[in-house]
């Protein structure tokens, strides 16, 4: 049983692991010496611009590029014809008939959302490429668009993909426990319709690709900022008519991702085709309008929920029908419609759950695995539902949440859908967060302030951040999907001078992998992090990788570090064997310290460089049977099983970090504006490798959640035009909107990982739960129920005015 430790300062369990050392990445980034895609310039390089669809839905009747081709400086133009020559449609992971869906890097035959690429130009400058886009004539025949999931399911709805024959691309019912019995035994049944809005986590650096085809060797090098390119290679390899063994993928510094940079494989192929056609390297930098329109949205979900509860607020069961609006193409979908399965009962103990899941295509931008992918929608739905159960029973929502939480002594806890929550103490975390905002005092003040007409509310929520996913869960979408498990590869070597070098198959973009890896390795070899060089970025010809490689799904501290530890131990063992031979001792008598291997308790030692020299150059002095060189590879594999296809259960993720948030807000009844008066977070991600790095992730995730709850939304007009297409309308919060967030930490080490670490990073955007609760609490004298995840002033203003009229 894991012990919860409440602390302001995180204890230091090892010399370097657990220490908030300054990061290794910062010096280059604070001096302007970071290397991002746009900073790379190759000889003879061209610049690309894309022409994109102005229509949500239209047939492409004709594309005439002749005027654009004549513009001086234009070298190559790619349209649907080139794409059909170079590509097969991307493979889909849905069962029939939606597996027939045709998806390419560029629109073929018709356009399906505003911003879909229609043509790509390579020219001597970006300005010329953009001029050329204006000279391309495209004749469209506009078609009626479908713009939400409910409309898309109507019998007469226009089809987004005729080849599929329906807009419903995936439907499945999951039933756990005895739902009907739970509802029969209920004292109270609560019904709700909820809407989880469409937003994104647009990183400050948009998508970027630089493709370089070497005519001499036939090698195509794709420099990109995709955050899981080697997973995407499965899609690229199966659809691109190009020899996969000659594709090399490089990611340098990446300017944020948050899941949105997973879908850029379509651009990686499109710009490659452009480079192949131009016969020169081509660089493409997405601009912000493109980025907001085409590829950074989260799953938009409509929920029809029913909850069965006892009089005391105990939740007996939940039935939910979900309609996921996944936009025009599936890309990574319908995974987002399934991932509730990682957190099926959230932090709660109820055992009876029916999920009727529907994924629907519409004429909006494709969705991406945005931070908290597929879980935030479900966890938010559970919070709204439990809260309404409490309110309709006349109980305190926070008390009802605490009553229904899984107890710490029940950990590890198996959920209805078969996930195993590894460790945690949810009630303590929530109570601690409430204490941090002076909950009791605000509760007292609240009643007086209500009398004065001031709408103060308190909200609290706890979401899990499920990390290290089991890819086999997608078998529950379609049993034939040929992937499962999770793994990570690391390569480590000591060079001939005794220096330690590590390369891991990840694509970090702010997670400080160079720093945390060097901390872990330093402890294994008895050196300092400065003595360990972690190869920056990712190069598929340098860094070892498996099909699960990448930086996503809150997992590096588990999978990446698992691989690093495995490699470090393997390398240490070999070094110890050689050192034992040199010192005439047994390997178990040795210790590693200060760049040397010592015979414990003596002054006899041999330096790393002496051992390395033996291994690399003076090899005839090596002990018998020892291979020259000091280079090892280790592949970490998560201890997962395949799903139970009959019960539809799966252990979908390995670790469960969680955050409890509590906040106080004031809603201005005259303007509808929400002001955050206090905000507190208690975070538990097991043993943190670098507490400063962890805290940074918590801050960022909290900000993203506040942004979603109050500011950011992709809004479409009834014609399917994106109305929030620049940062003028898509409200990226600034220093003036984001309050100071108080953070404290709890540690319940994971029993399933070697260091007790858990994945951290996504953080599940808990403010969506806490702020919606606080707003509802503030407006409870008016009887207002919050049913939308987005609550900008205009929505609340209207609701308040209507409620006041009713009174």
């Amino acid at each position: 049983m894991s012990q919860a430790i409440l602390c302001k300062e995180i204890p230091v369990p090892r010399k370097w692991v657990g220490t908030p050392i300054k990061t290794k990445e910062a010096p280059r980034l604070i001096t302007g010496r970071g290397k991002f895609i746009d900073d790379i310039k190759l000889p003879n390089m061209l610049y690309a611009a894309l022409l994109r669809s102005p229509y949500a839905h239209a047939k492409i009747k004709r594309i005439d590029t002749s005027k654009a081709e004549k513009l001086p400086g234009v070298v190559a133009i790619v349209t649907q014809e080139d794409v059909l020559k170079w590509c097969k449609p991307y493979p889909q992971i849905v069962p029939p008939p939606a597996d027939k869906l045709l998806d390419y890097p560029i629109a073929v035959g018709k356009v399906r959302f505003v911003g879909e690429p229609v043509a790509a130009v390579a020219a001597e400058s970006r300005a010329i490429a953009e001029d050329a886009c204006e000279l391309i004539e495209v004749e469209y025949e506009p078609l009626p668009p479908v713009l939400n999931a409910e409309d898309a399911l109507k019998p007469d709805a226009p089809l987004v993909h005729e080849e599929v024959g329906t807009n419903l691309v995936w439907h499945e019912v999951f039933e756990y426990g005895d739902v009907d019995k739970a509802f029969a035994e209920a004292d109270k049944v609560v019904s709700l319709k909820l809407h989880f809005h469409r937003f994104g986590c647009p990183p400050t650096e948009p998508h970027a690709v630089l493709a370089d085809y070497d005519k001499g060797t036939g090698v195509l090098t794709i420099y990109c900022n995709n955050q899981m390119p080697m997973f995407c290679m499965a899609l690229i390899g199966l659809s691109f008519n190009f020899p996969t063994e000659k594709i090399r993928i490089i990611t340098p510094d990446i300017g944020g991702g948050f899941g949105s940079k997973i879908l850029s494989y379509t651009y990686m192929m499109l710009i490659s085709i452009l480079a192949l056609k131009a016969g020169r390297p081509v660089k493409w930098m997405e601009d912000r309008r493109e980025n907001l329109a085409a590829g950074t949205h989260c799953n938009e979900v409509t929920f029809y929920v029913e909850a069965a509860a006892k009089k005391d607020g105990t939740i007996l069961g939940i039935k939910a029908k979900t309609l996921h609006d996944v936009g025009a193409y599936l890309r990574y979908e319908p995974v987002g419609a399934l991932l509730w399965i990682q957190v099926s009962s959230g932090p709660y103990r109820f055992k009876n759950l029916r999920m009727d899941v529907n994924a629907v295509v519409t004429n909006k931008g494709p969705v991406a695995p945005i931070r908290g992918y597929g879980r935030i929608q479900h966890l938010w739905m559970l919070e709204r539902t439990v809260e309404q159960v409490a309110r309709q029973l006349g109980l305190d929502p926070i008390e009802v949440k605490l009553r229904n939480y899984i107890k710490p002594e029940e950990m590890p806890y198996v959920t209805p859908s078969g996930a195993t929550y590894d460790s945690g103490d949810y009630p303590t975390a929530l109570k601690k967060a409430l204490e941090m905002i002076n909950y009791e005092e605000w509760r007292r003040k609240q009643k007086e302030l209500w009398k004065e007409g001031r709408y103060i509310g308190i909200g609290a929520a706890l979401f899990q951040d499920s990390g290290t996913n089991n890819f086999a869960q997608v078998r529950l979408i379609y049993h034939k999907n040929p992937f499962s498990g999770n793994s990570r590869m690391a390569e480590m070597w000591m060079d001939e001078f005794g220096r330690i070098i590590v390369a891991v198959g990840s694509n970090p973009h702010g997670q400080n992998h160079e720093t945390v890896v060097s901390q872990v390795v330093a402890d294994v070899f008895g050196v300092t992090p400065d003595d360990v060089f972690v190869v920056p970025g990712f190069d598929s010809w340098v860094h070892g990788w498996t099909g699960h490689a990448g930086t996503y799904a809150s997992q590096f501290a588990v999978s990446g570090i698992g691989a690093v530890l495995g490699a470090a131990k393997r390398l240490r063992e070999k070094i110890a064997t050689i050192a034992a031979h040199m010192l005439k001792a047994k390997p178990e008598e040795l210790e590693f310290r200060d760049g040397k291997v010592w015979v414990k308790g003596t002054d006899r030692s041999v330096a790393f460089w002496q051992i390395a020299n033996l291994a690399y150059r003076n090899i005839l002095e090596l002990p018998e049977g020892v291979e020259p060189g000091l280079r090892v590879i280790y592949t970490w594999k998560a201890p997962f099983k395949l799903p139970d296809m009959e019960k539809k259960t799966v252990n979908a993720t390995l670790t469960y970090s969680y955050q409890a948030h509590a906040c106080v807000v004031e809603v201005d009844a005259e303007t509808g504006k929400v002001k955050i008066l206090d905000y507190a977070v208690v975070d538990d991600c097991g043993i943190p490798i670098n507490p400063a790095v962890v805290e940074g992730q918590v801050h960022g995730s909290t900000m993203n959640g506040i942004a979603a709850a109050l500011y950011e939304e992709f809004v479409y007009s009834k014609e399917g035009q994106l109305l929030s297409s620049t940062f003028m309308d898509y409200l990226f919060p600034t220093t003036l909107e984001i309050p100071n967030v108080k953070v404290e930490h709890m540690i319940t080490p994971s029993p399933f990982t070697e260091l007790g670490t858990k994945g951290v990073g996504e953080g599940s955007l808990v403010p969506l739960g806490a702020i919606c609760s606080a707003i509802e609490d503030a407006l409870s004298p008016l009887g207002i129920v919050i049913t939308d995840s987005h609550n900008p002033p205009e929505r609340l203003y209207r609701m308040i005015k209507e409620a006041q009229k009713r009174k």
């Binding site: 010096p27 604070i30 970071g34 991002f36 960022g700 900000m703 620049t726 940062f727 220093t735």
Partner: protein, 161 residues
């Protein structure tokens, strides 16, 4: 395409020149013509502040300035902040306070902080928030950025005393 013209200016204390079209933005001129890629582009619309530099002593978003407008100007970019291999106190404070993650917005944040502290060496938290409101960051929630600017102000005050 209009003809290119030669632009002369002083960047980080060094006289530099290069050719630009009338429509060339200063940020593109700095990055592509002068090779100073520390100044980043995040939106092209003057919102995100990734391209913030100091021009004639004032912070500007260099995507909102034409290269022609910078003729004869004195420019300071992120590359000009550290002197003789020693980090500027703002850079040190960003490092010490973990005020960056991906680092893409960081040069702009640091240049805005530089301008703020040049005008107001001892800002309150509220003044720091107002001074940096034009610089977006998706990673940090701004918590550690604000902490770093406070710390930098203290460092710089101590250095003056």
């Amino acid at each position: 395409m209009a003809e290119k013209r030669k632009i002369k200016l002083i960047v980080n204390g060094v006289e530099m020149e290069g050719e630009a079209e009338p429509r060339t933005l200063l940020v593109h001129f700095l990055r592509d013509t002068l090779g100073l890629t520390g100044t980043h582009i995040g939106c092209d619309t003057g919102h995100c502040g990734c391209c913030t530099i100091i021009m004639n002593g004032v912070s500007v978003k260099s995507c909102m300035v034409l290269a022609y407008q910078a003729e004869g100007a004195e420019i300071l970019t992120i590359e000009g902040l550290a002197k003789d291999g020693k980090l500027h106190p703002i850079q040190e404070a960003f490092w010490e306070n973990h005020a960056l993650q991906c680092g893409y917005c960081t040069p702009g944040q640091i240049m805005s902080a530089y301008f703020l502290l040049s005008r107001n060496p001892n800002p309150t938290e509220e003044e720091i928030r107002r001074g940096l409101e034009g610089n977006y960051c998706r990673c940090t929630g701004y918590v550690n950025i604000i902490k770093a600017v406070k710390a930098a102000a203290e460092k710089m005050q101590k250095a003056v005393k």
